[in-house]
Amino acid sequence: MIALVKEEIRSHELIQQIVVPEAGALVTFDGIVRNHARGRKVQYLEYESYGSMAKREMEEIRAEAIERWPLTGLLIVHRLGRLEIGESSVFIAVSAAHRGDAFEACRYAIDTLKQTVPIWKKEYYDDGEVWIEGYGA
C-alpha cells in the first residue's frame, strides 16, 4: 500500500494489512515532527508534494524493495499539509519471514524516500518560515 494522506496516520490499523501468517517480523519507521531544527525552535511544519509523481516514486521504492528482499508486505504512507510537533509525517512498515530482511528493506525504503520522492517540508518558526531543500538539509 502506498498513500499520501491529509489526515492523521493510524499506524496501528495500517500494520494489520501486512501482518500475515507467513510473516515472522514486522519493522516500522515512524517519522515524527520535531520541535527543533538547525538550531531553531520549530512551531509546526507544512508538507507539499507533486502528488502523482510522489506516488509513482513511492511505488518504485516498494517494487524495488520487494525485488531485493523476500518480504511479505511493505507499506508507505506520507502525510501532507500542516503537522504539529509530535505528529507522524511518514510511516513505513515492512513484514518478512525473518527480521534481517525486514530491517534492511525498511532502512532502504526511508533512505530512498528522502532522496527521490517529490515532497517538501516548510518549517515555521516564531519569526518566519523556510522551505527545506534537500536530504539532511
Binding site: E48, M53, R56, T116, P118, W120, E133
Partner: protein, 80 residues
C-alpha cells in the same frame, strides 16, 4: 503547449505553480528552464540544484519535450 509545474520555493518565486509555454518544435528541458528564468530571473540561482521531471519521471537537462508534455521543476526533495 508545454505544461510547466513548479513546487515549493520555485512556486513561491514564480508566484504560480503552473505555467503554459507555447512551442513550435521540440524544446530541451534546459530551454524550458531558460524561458522560465527569462520570465522570473530569481529562478536563476536554482539552476545548479533544480530537479527536473518530464511526465512525472526524473529527467536530464537534455531531454526533448513536445507540446502536451508536462515538465516539472523543483528543489531537492525534503520529505520524510
Amino acid at each position: 503547449m508545454i505544461q510547466v509545474r513548479l513546487f515549493a520555493s520555485l512556486k513561491d518565486i514564480a508566484g504560480t505553480d503552473r505555467i503554459e509555454l507555447e512551442t513550435e518544435g521540440p524544446l530541451r528541458v534546459r530551454d524550458v528552464f531558460e524561458r522560465l528564468v527569462r520570465q522570473h530571473p530569481e529562478l536563476e540561482r536554482y539552476s545548479t540544484v533544480v530537479q527536473r521531471a518530464v511526465n512525472e519521471e526524473y529527467s536530464s537537462w537534455e531531454k526533448e519535450v513536445v507540446s502536451g508534455d508536462e515538465v516539472a521543476f523543483f528543489p531537492p526533495v525534503s520529505g520524510g
